[in-house]
C-alpha cells in the first residue's frame, strides 16, 4: 500500500494544518538551492515564477521556442473557483464535492479539497497580474456555468481563458528571468532524470537547436510536462505534447498512476481524412444551446436539411431526459460512439453526429423580436435576428468551424465527434506532489492527483495553477529544508555521466536503425491501436490483443524506423522518434492498467461492466484504489495500490437520467 502522506485531522483543516507545520527554508538558504522545472505551461510557469519570487534559484526548460507557447494556451472554456460571487450557493465544499463526484470517486479527497480551498486565491492572483477576465457592466467579474454543474463558478476570458492565464503566468515567469531568479532554457527537451542516492539530482536534456546534450543539476526536479493524449496520435493536444520526461522519470523509479484514465471530449471537429494530424476542440459551451442528433435511419445519405424533424433522433435528450445535451463529457462521448458504431453516423466518414443550432437560432430570434417589440416578424426575420445573437455568443467558435471544414454552421448543423482531450492519469504523487522518487515532483496534468477517472470542465486550469502558485511553494520547502547542507551535485559526477551515456546511446541507436518506415507512420499505427482498443470503450479481449500488437509495433519500430538528418543539428524527426518510442511503451502500460481495472468508471469504460441500460458500472468494493505502476523491465510492471478513503463524501452511482 502506498502512503500519500495525507495530514491527519478534519478534511477542511488538513491544508491549514500542513502549512502551519511544514518545514521552512530561510531566505539565505533559498538562494543556494537550485530547482529544475521542466515544462512551462500553467503549472510549470506558475511554479517557476512563485519559486523564483521566494528566492530559490530556478532553471526552467521548455521544448517550444518560448515558454508562452505551452499547450495550456489552447484551453478555451474557463477556470472554476469557489468564489460564490453569484450568490447561488457555491462554496469550497460544493466545488470539492462536484469534483469528487465528477471524477467518479476515484480521486483523493484531501487533494481535491485543497484544490477547492485555493481556487479563490488563483482568481485573485490572476486578476492582480492583469488577466483580462470577462466583466459585467458594473466592472465586476463575470461567471458562467460550465460542464453540467448547478452553480455559476466559471471565470473566463471569452474563448481564450487558457491563453490569458498562461500569459499571466508567463509574464510572472519572465519577470523572474529579468530579476535573475529564473534561467530559462527554450528549445530544450529533457531526456533523462539523474538520480543519485535515491534522490532526484538533475536532468539531461537536448538542446533542440544544435543537438548537444546538456547536464543540469538541482536540489529538486519538478515535472510540469502536461498530459500524454498524443499516445492516440490524433488528439486535441499540441503536436509536441509528449510523455517523454514523465516516462524517463517512471523508468527511474517514479510510479505511474491510473494511466488508462483518459478523457474523450465530445465536441471536436471530426476527422476529415488520412492526412489529419490533429483534432480541434470546440468549446463545451456549445452544448448549452445546440442540440445533438443523428438520423433515425441507418446509413442515411441525405443532407441534414433534407431530413425532416420526425426522422431525427435526439439521442441524448431521449436517453437522459434530465440532463439532455448537457450530460458530462464521458457520457456524451460514449453515446455518440454508440450511435456511430450502430450505423447512424453522418458525414462522409460516418464518424460524426450533428450539433444543430437551428432551434437555438429561432428561439433567440423570437426573444430578440420580443425585446424589440416586433410582433409581426416572420420566421425568416426571427432566424436573421437569432443568427446575430448566436454570432455574439459563439461567433469565434463558428468561425473556427467554418475555417476548418469550409461549411457555414449558421446554415448547416455542425458535425462533431469525440476526441482525446485530457489524461487524468500521470505520475503518482503524494499530498506534497512528490513522486516516489524523493526530490522529484510532478505538477499539473502530468500528475494523476485531482480528477479521478473523469475531469470536469474548467478544472484543468484550476489544478495547474493551484499546484504551481499555491501548493508547491509550501510543500517543496518541507523537502529542501533537509537539503540545505548539500551542495548541488556537480555535473561531472558519475551519475550524470551515466545518464548522459544512456541518452547518447539511445539516440545513436535510433539514428543507426536506418530502416524503411517513418516515425509518423509508427505513431499513426500506435494511435489506431489505442483508439480502437483502449479508447472510449475497452474490453479484455481487445486489450490483450492491443498489448500484443503494441509489442510487435515496438519491435518493428526499433528495427525499421527511418530518421533522416544528423544528430548534431535541429532534427525534429529525431525528437519525434524519441517521443514515439516512449508512447509505444506507455501505450502498453495503459492497456495493462485498463485490463486490470475490471470496472467502468469515468473515462474508463469496460464493455463487460455496464448496467442493462448501457451505463458505466463501478465496483467500489474491489477497485476503489489508485493503481500506481512501478516499472520493472520492458513490458513488466508491478502494481502498487493506494487505497482511496472517503471520509466525507459517500460514493454513489452517478445518474444523469
Amino acid at each position: 500500500m502506498l502512503d500519500a502522506k495525507i495530514p491527519a485531522g478534519k478534511l477542511d483543516e488538513k491544508w491549514e494544518d500542513y502549512k502551519g507545520h511544514c518545514k521552512l527554508v530561510n531566505p539565505a538558504n533559498k538562494r543556494r538551492l537550485e530547482i529544475i522545472i521542466v515544462g512551462t505551461g500553467l503549472a510549470g510557469a506558475s511554479a517557476a515564477a512563485s519559486l523564483g519570487e521566494l528566492g530559490y534559484k530556478v532553471k526552467a526548460f521548455c521544448y517550444q521556442d518560448s515558454p508562452r507557447r505551452a499547450h495550456s494556451i489552447a484551453a478555451q472554456g474557463g477556470i472554476n473557483a469557489a468564489k460564490n460571487y453569484q450568490n447561488d450557493g457555491d462554496s469550497v465544499f460544493r466545488l470539492f464535492y462536484d469534483t469528487i463526484k465528477g471524477g467518479d470517486y476515484r480521486a483523493r479527497e484531501a487533494n481535491v479539497h485543497r484544490l477547492a480551498e485555493v481556487s479563490g486565491s488563483i482568481i485573485d492572483q490572476c486578476v492582480a497580474q492583469g488577466v483580462p477576465f470577462a466583466r459585467e457592466y458594473g466592472g465586476l467579474l463575470s461567471n458562467r456555468s460550465f460542464g453540467g454543474t448547478q452553480v455559476q463558478r466559471t471565470f473566463y476570458a471569452a474563448g481564450q481563458t487558457g491563453q490569458q492565464l498562461l500569459i499571466g503566468a508567463y509574464q510572472a515567469l519572465e519577470r523572474q528571468v529579468a530579476l535573475g531568479n529564473v534561467r530559462m532554457y527554450n528549445r530544450h527537451e529533457m531526456l533523462e532524470l539523474v538520480v543519485s542516492d535515491g534522490k532526484a539530482k538533475g536532468i539531461i536534456c537536448r538542446n533542440l537547436i544544435n543537438g548537444e546534450l546538456e547536464r543540469h543539476s538541482g536540489h529538486a526536479v519538478l515535472l510540469c510536462t502536461g498530459g500524454y493524449g498524443n499516445v492516440f496520435y490524433l488528439s486535441t493536444n499540441a503536436m509536441g505534447c509528449n510523455v517523454t520526461a514523465a516516462w524517463k522519470a517512471h523508468k527511474k523509479g517514479a510510479y505511474f498512476a491510473n494511466p488508462c484514465f483518459t478523457q474523450i471530449h465530445p465536441t471536436c471537429i471530426p476527422v476529415s481524412g488520412d492526412h489529419q494530424s490533429k483534432l480541434t476542440l470546440m468549446s463545451e459551451s456549445l452544448r448549452n444551446d445546440g442540440r445533438i442528433w443523428v438520423p433515425k435511419k441507418q446509413n442515411d445519405t441525405r443532407k441534414p436539411n433534407e431530413i425532416p424533424e420526425e426522422e431525427r433522433d435526439y439521442y441524448l435528450e431521449r436517453r437522459y431526459p434530465a440532463f439532455g445535451n448537457l450530460v458530462p463529457r464521458d457520457v456524451a462521448s460514449r453515446a455518440a460512439k454508440e450511435r456511430c458504431d450502430a450505423g447512424y453516423g453522418v458525414g462522409t466518414s460516418r464518424q460524426a453526429v450533428y450539433l444543430d443550432y437551428a432551434d437555438a437560432i429561432l428561439r433567440y430570434g423570437q426573444i430578440e423580436a420580443g425585446k424589440r417589440d416586433l410582433t409581426t416578424a416572420d420566421t425568416n426575420a426571427f432566424i436573421q435576428m437569432g443568427k446575430e445573437v448566436v454570432r455574439e455568443k459563439y461567433g469565434n467558435l463558428f468561425d473556427m468551424y467554418e475555417k476548418i471544414t469550409g461549411e457555414n454552421p449558421y446554415e448547416l448543423p455542425m458535425r462533431i465527434y469525440p476526441a482525446v482531450h485530457y489524461t487524468m492519469g500521470g505520475l503518482w504523487v503524494d499530498y506534497e506532489l512528490q513522486t516516489t522518487v524523493p526530490g522529484l515532483y510532478c505538477l499539473g496534468e502530468a500528475n494523476f492527483s485531482d480528477h479521478g477517472a473523469n475531469r470536469l470542465g474548467a478544472s484543468a486550469l484550476m489544478q495547474g495553477l493551484a499546484d504551481g502558485y499555491f501548493v508547491i511553494p509550501y510543500t517543496i520547502g518541507n523537502y529542501l529544508a533537509d537539503e540545505i547542507a548539500n551542495k548541488a551535485m556537480p555535473i561531472d559526477h558519475p551519475a550524470f555521466a551515466d545518464a548522459e551515456a544512456t541518452v547518447e546511446n539511445r539516440i545513436n541507436k535510433l539514428k543507426s536503425i536506418n530502416g524503411k518506415q517513418s516515425v509518423e507512420s509508427f505513431h499513426k499505427r500506435l494511435g489506431k491501436i489505442m483508439w480502437d482498443k483502449c479508447g472510449m470503450a475497452r474490453n479484455a479481449e481487445g486489450l490483450l490483443q492491443a498489448i500484443r500488437e503494441i509489442q510487435q509495433l515496438r519491435d518493428e519500430f526499433w528495427s525499421d524506423v527511418r530518421i533522416p538528418g544528423d544528430i548534431n543539428e535541429m532534427n525534429s524527426e529525431l525528437d519525434k522518434a524519441g517521443r514515439v518510442a516512449d508512447f509505444i511503451e506507455l501505450g502498453e502500460l495503459m492497456c495493462h492498467d485498463a485490463l486490470t481495472r475490471n470496472e467502468s468508471c469515468g473515462g474508463h469504460f469496460r464493455e463487460e461492466f455496464q448496467t442493462p441500460e448501457g451505463e458505466a458500472l463501478r465496483d467500489d468494493q474491489d477497485y476503489m484504489y489508485v493503481a500506481a505502476w512501478e516499472y520493472k523491465n520492458l513490458s513488466e510492471w508491478g502494481l502498487h495500490k493506494e487505497e482511496l478513503k472517503y471520509d466525507v463524501v459517500k460514493p454513489s452511482q452517478r445518474s444523469y437520467k
Binding site: 518560448s66 492582480a128 492583469g130
Partner: protein
C-alpha cells in the same frame, strides 16, 4: 463545400543553420486534398522527402495547430500566414489554393528574427522585450480579492483584445521596417489599460521600447501592414496608445532608467 484534390509546385526556403546561406528549392506534391491544412500539406511533403531519402525534411515551427500558440510562422506567397485574413498557417486550409498553383514559402525575414533552420526563426527577442517590463509586478500571494477593484468594462474589453496577441511575429514579418511596435503596443495597452497595471505604466513603456530598440527592430511608420497581417486582428490603435504613453512618460518621468 465540394472537396477536390490538387497537384502543387512548392518553392521553399532551405537553410541548414543560422550561419549558412540558404536558397530556394522546388518540390512537387500530388493529390493534396482541399480539406488538408497547409501544415498537413507540408507533412505530406516531408514524408515524401523522408521516403526518398535524398533530402532532409523541411524544418518548420508548429505546435498547437489550432491557431493559438503562435509557433507557426510561414510567409506564403508574399503574405505572413498566407492568403486568409485573421488566420494562422495551421488554420489555413488547402481549399485556398487551386490545382497546378506554385506556392512560395519563406521564413519571417527580419534581422531580429534570425533564421535557425529552413523556415524556423529565433523569436526570443520577444521574450526579452517582455522581460523588460511586460508584466505587473505582483508576487504570488499578494493579491487582494478579485472583485475589490471594479474595472471599466470598455477598458477591460480593450485590454482583452490587445492581450489576444499570440506573439507569432507576423507583424514584424509584414512590416517594411521590421518594426515590433504592434507586438509591444499590444502588451503596453493590455497592461496599461487595467488599473492593476497603472503603477508601472511609465517604466513599462519606456523599458519595453528601449529593449525593442536594443533588439534591432525598426521604427513604426504607421503603414498598417502589421494590422492586416495579424492573425488575431490586433488594432494599430494600440500603437497610437503606446506613443501617447511614451510621450507622457517622456515629458514627466524623473526616474532615469538604465537598460
Amino acid at each position: 463545400m465540394e472537396h477536390y484534390n490538387m497537384d502543387l509546385t512548392l518553392k521553399i526556403w532551405r537553410q541548414k543553420n543560422r550561419q549558412s546561406k540558404g536558397g530556394f528549392r522546388t518540390y512537387e506534391v500530388k493529390n493534396i486534398s482541399s480539406e488538408m491544412s497547409f501544415l498537413e500539406m507540408i507533412d505530406v511533403l516531408n514524408e515524401q522527402l523522408i521516403m526518398e531519402g535524398k533530402e532532409d525534411p523541411i524544418a518548420f515551427d508548429h505546435d498547437c495547430r489550432e491557431g493559438i500558440c503562435g509557433m507557426c510562422s510561414m510567409y506564403i506567397n508574399g503574405k505572413p500566414h498566407g492568403p486568409w485574413k485573421a488566420t494562422t498557417v495551421c488554420q489555413l486550409h488547402m481549399r485556398a489554393f487551386k490545382n497546378g498553383e506554385t506556392i512560395t514559402v519563406e521564413p519571417w525575414r527580419a534581422n531580429s528574427f534570425p533564421v535557425v533552420k529552413d523556415l524556423v526563426t529565433d523569436r526570443s527577442a520577444f521574450d526579452r522585450i517582455i522581460q523588460a517590463g511586460g508584466y505587473i509586478s505582483v508576487n504570488t500571494g499578494n493579491a487582494v480579492d478579485g472583485n475589490s477593484v471594479a474595472v471599466d468594462k470598455e477598458k477591460s474589453d480593450k485590454a482583452f483584445y490587445a492581450a489576444a496577441c499570440i506573439a507569432c511575429g507576423a507583424c514584424v514579418a509584414a512590416c517594411k521596417n521590421s518594426s515590433a511596435m504592434l507586438f509591444v503596443s499590444a502588451k503596453v495597452s493590455h497592461l496599461g489599460l487595467l488599473p492593476q497595471g497603472a503603477p508601472e505604466r511609465q517604466t513599462r513603456v519606456v523599458s519595453m521600447v528601449a529593449q525593442m530598440d536594443k533588439e534591432g527592430f525598426g521604427s513604426c511608420t504607421n503603414i498598417q501592414a502589421c494590422e492586416a497581417a495579424c492573425p488575431k486582428e490586433i488594432s494599430i490603435t494600440n500603437i497610437a496608445r503606446l506613443n501617447g504613453e511614451y510621450l507622457s512618460a517622456g515629458l514627466t518621468m524623473e526616474n532615469k532608467l538604465t537598460t
